[in-house]
């Protein structure tokens, strides 16, 4: 099977998965206690007014009727209107998606930029001082809660130290977004990098002991070239899988970072819509999450196959 066929098959397999997730979430969110009309109107609205709003939103109809209408809309690509905002739920999600994508992609880049050189140092100086430092210090990033790390970074770089970065927010324009995303992405990367360092270090140690590396060294190839052309290329394969799994967790796991840095991402949208029982938005966000997770895992598998010629698409 070629790469194209494999990707095509995986994308087709995505459809029933996403449908299944959407159906499950529909029933789960509707069966959970809590009334969106009451939540949105607040405690000062009378039951009569709440009932009128529920009726206007069609929430007083039997669940199977609501489900049928929902599926009818989905078939036409319409995910419904947000009960809270009164605007298209799909539009809300798509508006916020770039923020979360920025965060995930930049975090992954930062994590790789931190992890690869440090893992290389640790592996080449195994069991010596640099190795111990590299293994111990990044655990600080793993051990401290992300919201605390974020606040500290904001305090240092946003308020003091020359106010190098904005204190939260998303900015405007490409460079504005990039400028605003550096601290949040760094916060996420500081939590992700220790995991990548440990994985890559272990792989590198194994690869550096292998025969083809010994052969390369014996041919007089420099250590830097050995590392770059032979060792890293092979060692990074398993780390790509680790990175992929963690990026999968990041999808939907960026809520705390979004809150600390006031980023209008879909993590924040998801949690607010759950608390508000904003059913259409919950369903829309879940759909997007499901697609993103499936795509991330697909990309991970494809990257794995591209890096390791022994892997066959079946």
């Amino acid at each position: 099977m070629t790469l194209g066929e494999y990707v095509g098959r995986r994308l087709l397999q995505m459809i029933p998965v996403i449908l299944g997730v959407t159906v499950l979430v529909f029933f789960m969110i509707h069966l959970v206690p809590g009334d969106p009309a009451r939540t949105i109107l607040g405690n000062q609205a009378t039951p009569a007014r709440v009932a009128l709003v529920r009726h206007a939103w069609g929430l007083d109809r039997p669940l199977y009727v609501q489900y049928w209408k929902f599926m009818g809309r989905v078939a036409h690509g319409n995910l419904g209107d947000s009960l809270f905002y009164g605007v298209s739920a799909g539009h809300l999600v798509l508006q916020r998606l770039p923020v979360t994508l920025w965060l995930i992609i930049l975090s992954a880049i930062f994590a790789v930029c931190i992890a690869v050189p440090l893992a290389a140092v640790a592996a080449t100086k195994a069991d010596r001082a640099p190795d111990h430092v590299v293994r111990a210090v990044p655990l600080v990033g793993l051990g401290f809660p992300a919201f605390w790390v974020g606040i500290v970074l904001l305090l240092i770089f946003g308020l003091h130290a020359g106010r190098l970065f904005p204190v939260g927010g998303y900015g405007s324009g490409f460079f504005g977004h990039l400028h605003s995303m550096i601290l949040p992405a760094l916060t996420v990367a500081l939590g992700l990098a220790p995991i990548l360092i440990r994985s890559l270090r272990a792989s590198l140690l194994e690869v550096l002991e292998s025969e083809y590396v010994t052969t390369a060294r014996s041919k007089g190839i420099s250590e830097k070239r050995v590392m770059r052309k032979h060792a890293l290329r092979n060692a990074i394969i398993s780390t790509v899988s680790v990175l992929g799994v963690n990026i999968g967790y990041l999808v939907g796991g960026t809520l705390v970072i979004e809150q600390v840095f006031a980023l209008p991402g879909i993590g924040q949208l998801m949690i607010n819509s759950i608390f508000q029982r904003d059913f259409p938005v919950v369903q829309a966000v879940t759909l997007v999450f499901a697609v993103m997770v499936v795509l991330v895992y697909l990309l991970t598998d494809v990257a794995h196959a591209l890096l390791d010629p022994r892997v066959r698409f079946e």
Partner: protein, 520 residues
């Protein structure tokens, strides 16, 4: 010469004293009376919730209401003390026909932000539309039978009956004046970017992020607003808002937590102000649960509430124990309402008189993750234990909590109220009239026919002194019945840049940004 010298010294001393007084007066509010307002500049207000909608007739959320009030204005508006109304888009009114006809004279020279002059047709349309909203605020205009116009600058309201809160109802934001027939747009289109007579007009909105209004060049108050634009952003984390304020990325931090007030009061460049509000917090007691149907039990619980401890623990001292279900900033609030205050001896005496002298088990709804409710719950649990009342917590998220309170599927729960009008009628009806208020007496099932009758009487009595007597009686009876535990009154908290002046929050929570200005 010798005689002139003491006079000179006295003059210099007076000047120095005046200078010192001015230096100490600054930073306590943004009134700086010595400074002249300057035009220009923009401010950003960061708040914990995003705006839901700008349909003034159907939105109940404060974070939407306080914004749309910058765009839409009513005929009369609430006074700064929250206790009355003053002319705004109208300059006055006459009452006739036994108090059932109100004729308002409109202010001359008022224009909408699209340049169109405001006329009586716009007023009639606006309020007819508002009162037709059965899902929204229409119920507050229930006393209006019809509206007619008498020329371009007079509007006549024909009431079904004498209605004492009428002026307060007219001053409600939902009765703000908009262009006739939504200026040719559909209702939905109009409320996506409403047009009004207010100091600011719609600029842009990024849903879930920010709302920006810009200066209305046609505003009727000459020279105002001073600011070029105002942006409201959505920042859920309180630490981030505080940092943004210190970094001058925002100029106003709305509702910093109580535990940060002291720090903010001492932060350079920041003014931290506590504005008196109409927010009152309660402990609801559902009378369908037999022990709580016993007035002696409810009185015992009310006596056992250590309000000072709650104010200290939850509000860090920045609040006051409540003595009535009405807050002090509402007209006809009575300081002699007689709300039961902490007294464990009296609490035990009441329990002894009740049908449950040995106590009972009770569940208390507490919001999951709601630190304030959890702290209050702990204090109450400890107090009630001394009466033999064994409190078990039932933690639920806000949506489920609200739903269970509405369905009266609770025994003890926390609730609160903030006023929408400068009249006690809305809250009184909601709290003590099970049918008339539509909420079974704030979902407590409290039913005292005498109190209900007094509340109806107070609605139809035009005399302010007579209403004061009626509402005092209502408050006293409600306190004696202890249908709720009146917990505390808390202020509106705003931290803002000391470059911002003229920023003042009214007891109803709204603010008139036409008066705000930035110093350079």
């Amino acid at each position: 010469m010798k005689a002139g010298r003491p006079l000179l010294i006295l003059a210099l001393a007076l000047l120095a004293a005046a200078g010192a007084a001015a230096a100490f007066a600054g930073g306590k509010g943004s009134s700086n009376s010595a400074a002249t307002p300057q035009h220009g500049g923009s401010i950003t207000i960061a708040r914990i919730e995003d705006s839901q909608s700008f349909d003034k007739t159907n939105v109940f959320q404060n974070e939407s209401i306080w914004l749309l009030e910058q765009v839409n204005e009513p005929l009369y508006t609430v006074t700064a003390d929250g206790k009355g109304e003053k002319p705004w888009l109208a300059t006055g009114y006459k009452v006739s026909n036994g108090g059932k006809t109100y004729t308002f004279t409109l202010r001359k020279g008022v224009k909408f932000s699209n340049g169109q002059p405001m006329t009586s047709a716009d007023v009639k349309f606006s309020i007819d539309d508002a009162r037709a909203q059965s899902k929204g605020w229409g119920y507050l205009d229930g006393a209006i039978k019809s509206i007619s116009t008498d020329g371009p600058d007079k509007v006549v309201f024909h009431l079904k009956y004498q209605w004492a809160p009428f002026l307060a109802d007219i001053a409600l934001f939902a009765n703000g004046i908009i262009p006739n027939h939504f200026a040719g747009q559909t209702r939905k289109q109009f409320y996506e970017h409403p047009i009004g007579t207010g100091p600011f007009m719609w600029d842009k909105r990024v849903v879930g992020q920010s709302v920006t209004f810009k200066r209305n060049p046609y505003y009727w108050q000459t020279g105002k607003p001073y600011l070029d634009s105002v942006t409201w952003t959505y920042v859920t984390d309180e630490n981030t808002r505080a940092l943004q304020l210190q970094g001058n990325q925002i100029q106003v931090d709305e509702f910093p937590p109580f535990n940060s007030i002291t720090k903010l009061q001492h932060t350079p460049g920041v003014t931290m102000t506590l504005f008196p509000s109409t927010r009152t917090d309660y402990l609801d007691m559902q009378e369908k649960y037999p022990p709580l149907a016993d007035v002696h039990v409810r009185r015992a619980i009310s006596y056992a509430i250590d309000r000072q401890a709650i104010v200290k623990a939850v509000l860090f001292g920045f609040g006051k124990p409540a003595n009535s279900f009405l807050p002090p900033q509402v007209p006809f609030y009575s300081p002699n309402a007689g709300g039961l205050q902490y007294n464990m001896a009296k609490a035990k005496a009441e329990m002894a008189k009740s049908k449950f002298p040995n106590g009972f088990k009770v569940t208390m709804l507490v919001g999951a993750g709601a630190q304030v409710e959890q702290a209050m719950g702990q204090i109450l649990q400890a107090s009630l234990k001394q009466l033999g009342i064994d409190v078990t917590f039932k933690q639920q998220d806000t949506s489920t909590e609200f739903q269970n309170i509405e369905k009266e599927n609770y025994q003890l729960a926390f609730s609160y109220w903030t006023m929408d009008i400068a009249d006690p009628d809305e809250l009184v009806e909601f709290s003590v009239d099970p049918k008339g208020g539509g909420a079974d007496s704030f979902y407590t099932s409290y039913n005292n026919p005498t109190v209900i009758a007094l509340s109806h009487q107070a609605e139809r009595t035009p005399s302010a002194s007579k209403r004061a007597q009626l509402y005092t009686k209502i408050q006293q009876l409600a306190a004696q019945d202890a249908f709720q535990g009146f917990l505390y009154y808390s202020p509106f908290r705003y931290a803002y840049s000391d470059k911002l002046h003229g920023f003042f929050v009214y007891p109803l929570g709204n603010y008139h940004l036409e008066d705000a200005w930035l110093s350079k």
